[in-house]
Symmetry: C2
Subunit: 369 residues, 2 copies
């Protein structure tokens, strides 16, 4: 099996701008080629577009705009983890030998479909993701005696970290009291507990080891991949205070990379809502069940950027199809020591956790220098 | 690289029924498992959904309905060749070792989006595919002095062949005069020159050689794969009487399989409109430029089912996301000598040609026993 490396990326600010999806897509792809002028468009065998947008044929459209005539070209959708699904698909094209170099571009508009879950009738009228997140929050807080004030620290930390991310949607810091005083949306979650949909785009190029070495001295290798879909319906979750698909995807990825959680120096965690961060840390095995908020508090208090250095989804914004790709770019930058003010010391191994629809589906990637 | 085989399929009649996309999807997947009771759901590592439907998260929804908890689950869209894009993606997951067994289900409703090409401004108001097909027809007929009556034979042949296909949308045969008398939609094309959108679903299971041998004595191997996207816009085509993406995809697929067109015993050709069939046969190298209709006439006159045995898109109907999968199922059945009244004699090697959007993108597969 061919080894697969990340050899370039392009990312643009996440905003609330009203732009055509084609323009959004083009932005980060253009940035990628500006950043990596030694990547030849003719060498790109596949262009995968990650999006929830309803427009069709976006990969050929992007390809034509950017001057690529790929062999393989299509869009991939899996709600909020479309991005890592696309990266894993690119990996498989290269590992199988069908492609040597693959461009993956994720893009979304602030009003993207896929934010409302039309299909899950078990939710009744409560189709917005905040309703499952609230049930998670109620269940998690009750089980482990976590207060609203304690949980608010996720948002405080991630907004603080996003201040160091020039592409983040948020440019403000907040106190615990600010989070508590923000608009109460449900019994258990407030406005500042939520990530916000936004307009954004992120592009990444993967290549075989042979190709990678021609392009860059600093390829970042994908050494672990884990994916799991346990169901589509929220109510099929076996627990509301633990993420089973995340646990299984994490186990598979770490096993493939031959690593343990203690080996992970930096991680992107899918904090669509504040409660997701401690739950995911526990489900991935970074800490014991119920101890996620203690881990987050320690990270916050020591000003360590180990978890969600770019500010997570809460601080960076959540352009669905671009999220998993922007998470992967962050870990790539960390491993390349190019994360500027967000840089964590001595990063050897990083992890990406990206999930969909109340953690009914999860992807975990392990990246190494 | 792991060898990849087709080990099972399920297909249901193509209709004009008004059904939810989830129900349409489920139908052929259920049929697949009824047809192949020794395939265990737990062995399925990936579920790929091929569709142009705007509903999100369809792969986890199908997986939950059918009782699968896959690692990999997402939807794939590339307009009319979404189906073969999904099959090639499944191939790469298996060849790379990320999966041993992959379910690919394509489904579409009769009113699917993707029939109208919103993105191609070079078409002005002429966004319906019939307008590019008419320019192809005008250009092709003029160059090779083909009459409307001669071209009508594609529809006559494919409707005749569809009569032997129990799943076809059409149940009628037509004479040349019937085609000529059907409603004139543009200067160069009539109603019976067109394939019709419909409601339909097709499922296929691919597996590694090791897995395949456990399930069936008659796996069909994918030995050649070629894909090419030359552009997204119709007017970027270098010719209106030849399909460049089809030529390139065909060359790549035949080279990979180490075959020539003379080795192909049966082929599915993407006849979205009548003119596409002779153009594609020429672009693939089955016959010289301008000779496609002579080849089709010989096949028709000798009652040979070699080209589009199931009746092509014109006879079978065209449920966009399901089309490429149903084409692949037809060639699989032909290779397994299970094509009933459509069976071509002594089939050793078959070919699938599936394309999108005025042949701006093409997939070619070579299948063998």
């Amino acid at each position: 099996m061919n080894k697969v490396g990340i050899i370039g990326y392009g990312i643009t600010p996440f905003t609330r701008e009203d732009q055509k999806i084609e323009s959004v897509l083009l932005k980060s792809a253009k940035t990628l080629f500006q950043n990596n002028q030694n990547i030849k468009r003719n060498d790109i065998d596949a262009v995968l577009v990650s999006t929830n947008n309803n427009s069709k044929y976006l990969s050929p459209i992007l390809s034509e705009m950017i001057g690529i005539q790929p062999k393989i070209a299509h869009s991939i959708e899996s709600l909020c983890n479309s991005g890592t699904n696309s990266i894993v698909s690119a990996y498989s094209y290269i590992a199988s030998g069908l492609a040597d170099m693959v461009l993956v571009t994720g893009a979304e508009r602030y009003d993207s479909p896929g934010q409302i879950l039309q299909w899950d009738n078990s939710r009744g009228e409560f189709k917005h993701p905040i309703f499952w997140a609230s049930i998670f929050a109620k269940s998690y807080k009750r089980e482990y005696s976590i207060s609203d004030e304690q949980l608010a620290l996720v948002s405080v930390k991630n907004h603080k970290q996003a201040k160091k991310n020039p592409n983040a949607l948020s440019d403000k810091t907040y106190s615990i009291q600010d989070v508590i005083n923000s608009k109460k949306l449900t019994d258990d979650l407030r406005l500042l507990d939520c990530s916000r949909p936004c307009t954004g785009s992120a592009s990444i190029i993967l290549a075989s080891a042979e190709m990678a070495k021609k392009i860059t001295d600093l390829p970042i290798w994908i050494t672990g991949i884990g994916q799991k879909t346990t169901s589509a319906s929220f109510t099929k979750n076996t627990s509301f205070r633990f993420m089973e698909s995340t646990r299984l995807a994490g186990q598979t990825a770490l096993k493939m990379a031959n690593k343990h959680t203690e080996d992970i120096d930096v991680a992107e965690i899918h904090d669509a809502f504040s409660v997701c961060e401690p739950m995911a840390l526990e489900s991935l095995g970074f800490t014991n069940n119920g101890n996620g908020m203690n881990m987050i508090k320690e990270i916050h208090d020591t000003d360590n950027f180990k978890i969600n250095p770019r500010g997570g989804l809460i601080g960076s914004g959540h352009p669905l199809g671009a999220t998993g790709i922007s998470q992967t770019i962050e870990i790539t930058q960390q491993l390349q020591s190019k994360a500027d003010k967000r840089q964590v010391d001595d990063v050897q191994v990083g992890l990406v956790h990206n999930m969909s629809a109340a953690a009914t589906s999860s992807t975990v990637l392990v990246l190494e220098k």
